[in-house]
């Protein structure tokens, strides 16, 4: 007891001393970002560009922006995230454009809502480019180090202590520790501590956070082996060329001038599957050595063989990691099987008969903090000024991490400046969908972005991310007025063109030959060009010769405008309906729940529902309805209760229970 009091006193004294230190210390920043991965880059750049003195603390400065897994950016739904990050003023798209060695727009055969840009990148260049942008950015200092202590005053974060003993103070801290928290790497029955290949883990942070009251869990992710390009028989594998005229990720760029190189496609076969099965009893996945839960959607090759036993082959993409390297990333062969099994398995694949394995695949297991503990700003509910972003929140993927990093960085800066928080709605962006999902759903596996997660997918397209989000970026100070002027000009032109097509009639003699040519039914009376364009086989290019207005002709020559004009016209009906759906959705989003609402006092809620609501503290009925474990009846109860409270507050005469 005596000891305790003494300790407590000491603690108080220490706190006071720290407080004084903080007041007087020179080593004080507005925002500290811990971790230089894809989340950390966006967080520190956003904060610095919003005029906050920013410190980036990273284990190794030359590991900033490292692509620890595949050397690629984007892909289905992830490409959307990159475009959104760019529209708000983030960096990922620009770095990817600058360092891409192959670009593809995926899903072109599907609707425009699921077209997704993807790039292969030169791993070395990407990381160098990222470091360059961080180091040349005003307002950012970088130190190498790791955090050994967090200073908390009451429930407010005030600073950190590094392993070397430096004490640094701040208003906001963004923690982007990635897979490094108590990282453990597995290959077969061997395991060793480490955050990523050749990098040490960071330990202690989890324990500090646990002590404060944060709940952590374990997750795992895997990476495939790397092989030598010179040992692949390229004549036996399919060559995959880049798109001829790539769409850049960034709205700042109009074209890609990089030299583009091919990738290669091959397949596993029955023999490969047999070989891999031999190692199942030594796979840490199957033996229970890995306690973390892996992503269902990005399964290891042994998972694929095990779960889809009926499939005769699986795709394997051979992706060179850059211009000046012989390292090839074996996409689709993520594994933590013993090294010799990986090697034998690879050699059973067509084209890889004599392959040299440069590095074995491995699984990494790491601590994460359930994002239920965060607000929509990614600030923790428990500690004011402490933000989490990236894999530490249980997500997988660079793009997911970068999206969170951007939002956390922006809100960390806004907090310093005592400005209104920045929250994106589900109906506005994939980033909004992701954060809302993270906060409300329970994480059982690493969260990966999918287009199916977005209810209003038809509106949240990659092509219109600028129209959706750029003005937010401008208000935040991350997007220049020049870009906004360009955007306004684009929207004007699109509007004028749409107006033209909605008024322009074409005669059967003009249009029928075109319709016949594209296997569409002919018309017998004059029809609006906008109606003709709604037909699935007719594109803007097909009818462009019928346009008799020079200005409009000029507009549709630009891909940047014509794409918007065409999509807006073609899918007008769907877009209108989706807007109506949003209006219905907004009704529930605008049905707000007071900030410190006590869910415990509503007795009629289900036990689980009440617990979840109390924990997550939703701010609207709409949000409450998305929380796992909250039932429809709970929502009805909440609606009625809140309605009752609002009646009561307007009618003060009534007693409160």
């Amino acid at each position: 007891m005596k000891h305790y009091i003494k300790l407590k006193l000491l603690h108080v004294k220490l706190e006071f001393a720290l407080y004084m230190l903080k007041k007087t210390a020179e080593n004080k920043y507005d925002v500290i970002v811990v971790g230089g991965g894809h989340a950390g880059i966006e967080a520190s750049l956003a904060s610095a560009r919003m005029q906050c003195a920013t410190l980036l603390v990273t284990l190794k400065a030359n590991a900033i922006g490292r692509m620890s897994c595949n050397p690629a950016i984007g892909g289905t739904a992830k490409g959307h995230l990159v475009r959104e990050i760019d529209a708000i003023g983030g960096e990922m798209g620009k770095i990817a454009d600058a360092t891409g060695i192959q670009f593809k727009m995926l899903n072109k055969s599907k609707g425009p809502a699921v077209w997704s840009p993807r790039s292969q990148n030169d791993r070395e260049l990407y990381s160098a480019e990222a470091q360059n942008r961080i180091l040349s950015q005003k307002n950012i200092d970088v130190i190498e180090g790791s955090v050994s202590k967090l200073f908390v005053d009451g429930n407010k974060l005030i600073g950190i202590k590094t392993l070397l003993g430096e004490e640094i103070f701040c208003e906001s801290l963004v923690l982007c520790a990635g897979t490094f928290l108590n990282g453990l790497m597995h290959t077969g029955e061997k395991n060793r501590v480490g955050g990523r290949f050749g990098e040490a883990p960071s330990s202690g942070i989890t324990e500090i956070l646990n002590k404060i009251g944060f709940v952590s869990g374990r997750l795992k992710t895997g990476t495939p082996p790397r092989v030598d390009l010179n040992s692949i028989d390229l004549s036996k594998v399919e060559r995959q060329e880049s798109d001829e005229f790539p769409t850049p990720f960034s709205f700042h760029n109009t074209e890609i001038k990089n030299r583009l190189i091919p990738m290669y496609l091959t397949y596993t076969n029955q023999r490969t599957h047999k070989i891999l099965e031999k190692g199942f009893d030594r796979s840490p996945m199957f033996t229970g050595r890995i306690k973390g839960i892996g992503p269902r959607y990005c399964p290891s090759v042994e998972d694929k063989v095990f779960r889809f036993a009926e499939r005769e082959r699986h795709q394997i993409f051979l992706e060179p990691e850059g211009y000046n390297t012989n390292v090839v990333y074996v996409n689709g062969f993520s594994t933590s099987l013993p090294e010799e099994i990986q090697y034998e398995g690879l050699r059973s694949i067509t084209g890889l008969e004599n392959v040299k394995m440069l590095r074995a695949g491995y699984a990494v297991e790491y601590d994460f903090f359930s994002p239920n503990q965060l607000k929509h700003t990614l600030e923790t509910k428990l500690i004011s000024g402490l933000f989490f972003a990236g894999q530490i929140c249980g997500t997988s993927g660079y793009e997911e991490a970068a999206g969170q990093g951007l939002i956390a960085g922006i809100n960390a800066a806004l907090k310093v400046q005592k400005r209104k928080p920045f929250v994106i709605k589900r109906s506005e962006a994939y980033i909004g969908v992701m954060i809302d999902d993270l906060i409300n759903k329970s994480t059982e596996e690493p969260y990966r972005m999918f287009t199916s997660r977005a209810e209003y997918r038809l509106l949240l397209r990659q092509d219109n991310a600028d129209r959706r989000l750029m003005r937010f970026g401008n208000e935040l100070g991350l997007i220049s007025d020049d870009l906004i002027n360009q955007l306004n000009d684009k929207e004007n032109k699109v509007r004028v063109a749409i107006n033209y097509f909605e008024k322009k009639f074409v005669s059967p003699t003009e249009i029928n030959p075109i319709l016949i040519q594209h296997q569409e039914n002919t018309i017998s009376e004059n029809e609006k060009l906008s109606q003709i364009l709604k037909r699935s086989n007719i594109t803007l290019a097909d009818v462009k010769n019928l346009v008799d207005d020079n200005l409009i002709r000029e507009f549709i020559e630009h891909k940047n405008f014509s794409e918007q004009i065409e999509i807006d016209l073609k899918y007008e009906g769907y877009i209108k309906r989706q807007n109506e759906q949003i209006a219905r959705f907004d009704k529930f989003e605008e049905f707000t729940i007071p900030e410190n609402f006590d869910f415990k006092k509503i007795k009629s809620l289900s036990t689980e529902g009440r617990e979840r609501l109390q924990k997550i503290k939703p701010r609207s009925i709409g949000q409450a309805s998305r929380i796992s474990g909250v039932t429809n009846a709970d929502i009805s109860v909440m609606s009625i209760h809140l309605r009752k409270e609002s009646i009561r507050s307007s009618d003060k005469g009534e007693a409160i229970e």
């Binding site: 995926l106 199916s452 009704k587 429809n632 109860v637 009625i640």
Partner: protein, 465 residues
């Protein structure tokens, strides 16, 4: 609109209708409903410690300690009660006055008067009933006949909820496969064939349409079928009405019409309610008073589901019959069925009916005097009103406008999905249509139902339920 108040507090209301009867029941619900009773009640045991689902006989006193009545108290402890809260029902002697006295005594304590539907609202809030079931409670109460009762009790049993859930689940499955195809589009797998999907969705549309179609019948069943008897004077209209009613004397009630010359009578055939109005004889007249009566008759015809044109079979049809027929046909709407009923066929030569009438549909022959053809005619009446009556009694019937509107919206979205599929649209568009359907169906059973709708639903109840 009903104001929603604190639903944790204790509420009370008289649950039985106003008027004299054998017993009256006062219902109390809420945390204090059991504990508060001991200050009013004297029996063998304390109510406060009594077990759930027990009955207690004793005397009920007012808060002024005035003896009010001997009562039986039923205890239902939570959660095993209608509302899911503690519920007490006090059965006292019939008559509204006694019940009113007991209620006033209760209200003097910390108990407030229940709003309309508040007991059921609580049952809904406590997850004892889903939204559709709660709505059904109101319909069971308002049921005027066997068929209306049957369809609402089915709904209360969850038949509609199960149905809607089942359809919703099937659409969810189709939708999630499309989503999967999109999410894994890079793997190049087609998980469901386009034509099969169209087929599946088409079947669901058909099912929904069948259920939506029952609304017309459902509404008729719920509200009763309005029948107007018209005809020239002396065609036997009153005799017909009497003969129809005589058969059912025990369950017939007289409701005075708003005017002296139209009278509405309730008649139940095979559990279906018919609301029959006898009108003044129709003829061309210049008499001002009769003109008024005629106008009223015309308005009755306009609002009827069935119009019976009663014709004297012994009279030869002339120009005036032709004109009358024309006038009626101009008055009635598309939904109204017109029946030509020939009376006095015992003395007329019905084996040789007028060829003009024969060519028309819904022609029947009776004799009010000998009752010949009456039974057959009654059966035909149901057939005319509810052509699919036999299948109705075994299937699902919807009677609620809200359900119908949402089912229709769901159906439109499903049809849009089919159009999208036929136009070779990509999965993202089809999913947009399907998700919309899923939302509408969810709204029927209360998945994110706007709370103003909830309010409306519960304000349709009587107080005490």
């Amino acid at each position: 609109m009903q104001t929603l108040r604190n639903y944790q507090d204790t509420i009370a209301a008289i649950a039985t209708p106003i008027g004299e009867g054998g017993i009256s029941v006062i219902r109390i619900c809420g945390n204090q409903s059991i504990s508060i009773l001991d200050s009013f009640f004297q029996g063998k045991k304390k109510i406060n410690t009594a077990k759930t689902h027990t009955l207690h006989y004793g005397k009920f006193y007012s808060d002024q300690n005035e003896f009010l009545d001997t009562v039986i108290i039923s205890i239902f402890r939570k959660p095993h009660s209608y509302t899911g809260n503690d519920v007490v029902e006090i059965s006292c002697h019939g008559g509204h006055y006694v019940a009113q006295k007991i209620l006033s005594a209760l209200l003097s304590k910390d108990i407030r008067m229940a709003d309309a539907g508040e007991f059921t609202l609580r049952a809904f809030i406590n997850n004892k009933l889903d939204l559709v079931q709660a709505e059904a409670v109101a319909d069971v109460i308002h049921a005027k006949n066997e068929s209306a009762y049957r369809s609402s009790i089915d709904q209360l049993n969850g038949k509609l909820s199960v149905f809607v859930n089942l359809i919703r689940q099937q659409i969810l499955e189709i939708c999630s496969i499309f989503e999967l195809q999109l999410d894994f589009s890079q793997e190049g797998i087609e998980l469901q064939n386009k034509n099969e999907s169209i087929e599946k969705i088409n079947r669901l549309v058909k099912t929904l349409e069948q259920v939506i179609a029952t609304f017309t019948s459902g509404k008729l069943i719920k509200e009763g079928i309005k029948v107007a008897i018209i005809g020239k004077p002396n065609a036997g209209k009153s005799s017909l009405l009497n003969i129809l009613l005589n058969e059912q004397r025990a369950i017939v009630s007289h409701i005075s019409g708003t005017t002296r010359d139209t009278i509405e009578e309730n008649l139940i055939i095979d559990g279906v309610l018919f609301r029959i109005t006898d009108t003044a004889g129709l003829r061309n007249t210049t008499n001002e008073i009769e003109q008024k009566g005629m106008e009223r008759a015309e308005s009755v015809i306009r609002s009827s589901d069935i119009v019976i044109l009663l014709i004297d079979a012994t009279h030869k049809q002339d120009q005036s019959d032709f004109e009358l027929n024309l006038r009626i046909n101009n008055l009635i709407s598309n939904q109204t069925r017109l029946i030509y009923l020939f009376n006095k066929c015992d003395i007329a030569n019905v084996r040789n009916p007028n060829t003009e009438a024969d060519s028309l549909k819904n022609v029947f022959f009776i004799s009010c005097k000998t009752k010949e053809g009456i039974e057959e005619f009654k059966k035909q009446l149901i057939q005319v009103a509810l052509p699919n009556y036999d299948s109705l009694s075994s299937g699902m019937i919807i009677t609620n406008l809200r359900h119908k509107n949402l089912l229709e919206k769901a159906c439109i979205s499903l049809k849009n999905a089919i159009i999208s599929l036929q136009n070779n649209m990509s999965e993202d568009f089809i999913s947009c249509d399907l998700r919309e359907t899923i939302d509408y169906l969810g709204e029927i059973i209360g998945i994110l139902t706007p709370e103003d709708i909830l309010n409306n639903i519960f304000s349709n109840f009587c107080i005490g339920k």
